[in-house]
């Protein structure tokens, strides 16, 4: 069996590591309490005490009061432990890192994630979408900018949930010890396609991360084949009002930046694998794969669709 994509019972970074043991503890306590109550209930059903009034049982000489006292002590103990542990965990995870290795500006939109990589030098800044790369061992500050409606940023194996609220900027952070792909998910209902509003955090060794970052800084090369050139023209007339491709005449800002579309593993916020077939179907009819997404079906002829594919695959 493969690991569940949103495995919130395992951790892959220091932030989640502070939370996951607490989750297990609370889960265990809840299961035990549930079982104890069930057993007592069964016992009461199997051995009813006749018609004696409850007050008589409590005040009588068969230790009724003792049951209540022990019950209180037994429930208070795990609650106090949970309280103290929760405070301690919050202390470790709540404050954002003072000197983060990387700062990201993430703006969740109906139903995708815009990701800006900040840097002191403007030439080192870039925009991408739906796939966040970080270096292992680095503490990454995420500034969550509220956009259209309330969303929530959640990468269970790396961090807890943080809401993005319109008009507000909330801080959260990520850190991964183990290289891997960690699925994230919008965790606050935000509209029709809330369930298909996922993203991936790719944690890779610093050298690989640096290679990825440099590649992302590149602008798109001018298309060379005839088909790709025709596709680029269709792109300008049909898609550029919403999508940006750096290096081409396309600077829309209401949809994912497509400059390095082919470097992503999934498209449409985790809805489809990034293959030729999905790209064709998505571009022609996003409303059948993700009804309610803010990209309308595109009335392209078969010829235009083929040219568009030839162009999109050059966006490495």
């Amino acid at each position: 069996m493969s690991a569940p994509p949103l495995g919130y019972l395992t951790s892959a970074g220091e932030r989640a590591a502070a939370i996951v043991p607490l989750t297990w503890f609370v889960l265990a306590v809840s299961v035990i309490v549930g079982m104890v109550v069930a057993v007592l209930l069964l016992a009461a059903i199997v051995h009813p005490r006749g018609r004696a009034l409850p007050t008589a049982i409590v005040a009588g000489d068969d230790h009724g009061l003792a049951w209540i006292k022990w019950g209180l002590v037994l429930s208070a103990l795990p609650l106090i432990v949970t309280l103290v542990w929760t405070m301690a965990a919050l202390g470790r995870v709540a404050g954002p890192p003072r000197s983060p290795a990387l700062v990201l500006d993430v703006t969740p939109r109906q139903y995708w994630w815009e990701v800006r990589y900040d840097a002191r030098d403007p030439a080192d800044r870039f925009v991408t979408a739906n796939e966040i790369h970080i270096a292992t061992g680095a503490r990454v500050l995420v500034r969550l900018h509220g956009g259209d409606v309330i969303h929530s940023f959640w990468v269970p194996q790396l961090s807890g949930k943080t809401d993005a609220i319109p008009g507000q900027t909330n801080l959260t952070w990520l850190a991964a010890d183990v290289p891997g792909r960690y699925r994230g998910q919008c965790a606050e209902f935000c509209g029709l396609e809330h369930a298909k509003m996922a993203f991936e955090v790719v944690a890779e060794p610093p050298a690989a991360f640096e290679r990825w970052r440099r590649a992302q800084l590149q602008t798109a090369p001018p298309p060379s084949s005839d088909a790709a050139q025709r596709g680029a023209r269709v792109f300008q007339s049909h898609c550029a009002s919403c999508h940006a491709v750096r290096g081409a005449r396309a600077a829309g800002s209401t949809a994912p930046d497509l400059t390095h579309l082919m470097s992503r593993r999934l498209i449409a916020a985790g809805t489809l694998p990034n293959t030729r077939g999905s790209l064709a179907g998505w571009v022609r009819a996003p409303q059948t794969s993700k009804p309610g997404a803010l990209m309308p079906d595109q009335q392209l002829t078969g010829q235009q669709l083929g040219d568009m594919l030839a162009y999109l695959v050059t966006l490495k």
Binding site: L272, P273, T275, R276, G277, S278, L279, A280, G281, W282, R284, A285, T288, S289, T301, G302, Q303, L305, G306, L309
Partner: protein, 112 residues
């Protein structure tokens, strides 16, 4: 009773075999065809750009022009644009082995 259980188990194993034989083409269909076609047996294949493929094994004509034979199906999967220039289905870049596997699977879809 034990016999019934045995029978059920055998059937289950048989089903599993059946599933296994087509696991590869089903994964391919999920990755490559799902955004355009609705395909029985592939849960995420709910696309509505192209025709639904339920009952494709019984259809007589492919792409409105070719008789539906295994060889033509394979040919169409490999070169949709050659069969239907300007059609909405792009050349998918399948290998011949992949086209065979998908054609095999489609040949089992005989219920409309």
């Amino acid at each position: 009773m034990p016999r019934l259980i045995l029978l059920a188990l055998t059937l289950l194993v048989a089903c599993d075999r059946h599933a296994d034989r087509h696991a590869a083409p089903r994964a391919l269909i999920a990755a490559q065809c799902a955004a355009c076609h609705t395909v029985p047996g592939v849960a995420i294949a709910r696309g509505q750009v192209g025709p639904p493929l339920a009952g494709i094994a019984r259809r007589t004509t492919l792409a409105g022009r070719l008789p539906n034979t295994p060889a033509n199906m394979r040919h169409f999967l490999l070169h949709p644009q050659a069969v239907q220039p300007g059609g909405a289905m792009p050349d998918m870049g399948l290998t011949p082995a992949q086209a065979d596997a998908i054609a095999d699977y489609l040949a089992t879809l005989d219920e409309p």
